[in-house]
């Protein structure tokens, strides 16, 4: 009865189907062409209407994108992001009075360097993507993954959030925008707008990939031992590149094309990876962790099936680009395993993905509110998620740090290594270690200018980023912006430790 391959839904529901064609459940006239969700059959036109409406409703419901705002669309070439691109084009071209404008740009990241693609394949893919982008008329930025090696440190610096824009001001902003447009039209300023548009259409090309960067990237990815770590690192680097490009070009929002299915898979695999604390921002509609740039996910209500059907029926061009996980077995990485689990379960229980999705909507982070001017030490260096270090003496991550120290025989050095989570009232006196530290071997941070010990980086990371870095054979293969920012924060933390005794007690920070 409970066999994996048994088709439950087949014989039970569709005894009469081969002979009688099902009618669309919406218009009840045309023949249905697809079934979405559990049993809803749609005809072609109703499906198109449903699909387009969902996109606009998603943006309208979550009023985060203001008119006139610059929005960066992260397009990977895959079906979901290509579909998103089409929806944006369609939405902006309508002249409905309620349709608002935002100024889109496109970013495409060439990840061929991490996925072992040869130069020819990369060229071919790039030219195909460029052709697609040119047709849209939006400014596009093509960035290669190798450019992480020329990113500035500022990418990782936490930026405080922009001023809050409550719902009421949204309406006011819309009205103001429409009024301004009217005024402009009357004053014949259309010409300037067109000129501005023309300038915006200039594409921004990535510079040629330098061979040193290419080699450095290869070294980085080959030093990561597991596919799980590689996929995680790729995701992190990708986010940093997108963030940097957005900041550089004045984009305040980034749209990612994550579908419902992808987000459900990401939710479960993030839990397995140890990213449970940031589930809400990783899978929610908007991700405000970067402060000035907000990431939104307008495709999060669409299942992969809906997207694939829409693309096929309405001719949306998308490319398949081999990634890290292509043609690997089900168990090659945590992400692959979760994907295979969710998809297989979905085949027999069609409400799996939507249940996970609905659960993710209810998640909220329960971190204590950050003090204004969020301290850098409170954010993970790589993923910039909030790390609640204050009450962490009994947490799993603290325990794993301690046991790592113990296994390396660095008993006396505990207090110094992780100043952020060191409990002030603990038995370890930081200053006694400092004094003894003069004669200590590795792990000693007493001497300024010494290269930071490996543990150094891990103490600045959240639990899951720490696991990823632990998988690295050599930490110095990380791009320079990460290592130098790590050093800066480490030195700052050390300095803070040294003067802590002399600081006036700050009630908010010191109470453990």
């Amino acid at each position: 009865m409970c066999q994996v391959e048994e088709e439950y839904s087949g014989p039970l529901e569709k005894t009469s189907l081969p002979t009688v064609s099902k009618k669309c459940m919406k218009c009840k006239e045309s023949t249905a062409v697809l079934i979405i969700r559990v049993g809803d059959a749609f005809c072609r036109d109703c499906f198109r209407e449903y699909f387009v409406h969902k996109f606009r409703a998603m943006l309208g419901k979550n009023r985060v994108i203001f008119p006139g705002e610059k929005v960066l669309l992260a397009v990977s070439g895959g079906p979901a992001s290509s579909s998103m691109l089409t929806q944006v084009q369609e939405g902006l071209s309508r002249d409905a009075p309620k349709k608002l404008r935002f100024a889109p740009g496109i970013i495409y990241i060439d990840e061929g360097g991490a996925c072992d693609q040869n130069a020819e394949e990369r060229e071919k893919t790039l030219s195909q993507m460029e052709a697609i982008f040119r047709k849209t008329g939006f400014p596009y930025h093509i960035v290669s993954l190798e450019q992480v090696f020329s990113l500035p440190n500022s990418v990782l610096e936490p930026v405080s959030c922009g001023p809050e824009r409550p719902g009421s001001s949204y309406k006011a902003a819309v009205d103001q925008y429409l009024q301004q447009k009217e005024v402009n039209q009357r004053q014949g300023q259309l010409a300037t707008e067109e000129a501005q548009d023309a300038v915006a259409h200039l594409s921004v090309q990535a510079s040629q990939v330098s061979p040193e960067h290419k080699q450095a990237l290869e070294k980085l990815f080959s030093s990561l031992k597991t596919l799980t770590a590689r996929q995680d690192m790729l995701q992190t680097l990708r986010q940093h590149l997108i963030l940097h490009t957005a900041r550089l070009n004045g984009y305040s929002k980034v749209m990612m094309g994550d579908s419902c299915t992808r987000l459900a898979i990401r939710l479960l695999s993030n839990i397995s990876l140890g990213r449970g604390a940031s589930l809400a921002v990783d899978t929610g509609f908007s991700d405000p962790r970067y402060g000035d740039v907000v990431i939104v996910r307008p495709m999060r209500d669409y299942s992969s099936k809906e997207i694939a059907f829409y693309n096929r029926l309405f001719g949306v061009r998308s490319l398949f680009i081999s990634g890290l996980g292509t043609k690997t077995s089900d168990k090659a990485s945590i992400q692959q395993l979760t994907e295979s689990f969710v998809i297989k379960l979905q085949a027999d229980f069609p409400s799996t993905v939507s249940t996970i999705y609905r659960t993710s909507e209810k998640l909220h982070t329960a971190c204590p509110p950050q003090t204004s001017g969020a301290v850098a030490a409170d954010k993970c260096l790589l993923c910039l998620c909030a790390v609640c270090n204050k009450a962490d003496a009994a947490s799993a991550s603290h325990a794993s740090l301690i046991s790592e120290r113990l296994s390396r025989g660095e008993l006396g050095m505990e207090a110094k290594i992780d100043p952020a989570s060191c409990c002030p009232s603990g038995t370890l006196d930081p200053f006694s270690c400092q004094r003894e530290g003069q004669g200590c071997g590795e792990g000693g941070s007493c001497t300024a200018g010494r290269a930071p010990a490996p543990a150094d980086l891990k103490s600045l990371l959240c639990y899951s980023c720490r696991l990823t870095v632990k998988d690295m054979a050599a930490e110095d293969t990380l791009p320079p912006y990460i290592t130098s920012e790590a050093e800066k924060r480490w030195n700052r933390a050390q300095l803070k430790e040294e003067v802590r005794e002399f600081l006036l007690e700050d009630e908010d920070e010191e109470v453990g």
């Binding site: 569709k14 081969p18 997207i307 398949f320 043609k327 992400q335 994907e339």
Partner: protein
Amino acid sequence: MASYAVGLVFRGGAELLFDGVKDHHVTLPSQSEPWDMKQLLVWIRGNLLKERPELFVQGDSVRPGILVLINDADWELMGELEYQLQDQDNVVFISTLHGG
């Protein structure tokens, strides 16, 4: 029974298992009973699939995550594996999986 010609299209990464060829026009050998989807899958596995069959078929059916469209309509509406093929049918396999 005359043999019939069927168009097969592979997208979304599924083409990687067929030497990268996305569009195939095949003529199925004639047999006394009409071809159904189940037999077509067996035939594809035996004649077209170049590598890693477990990434395309699972048991009798396609691997979960691979969508099948028959003449641009969801195969769930046509009876899935029981659907009987007709001449000049067009079957599209779209992989929605990350790993092709």
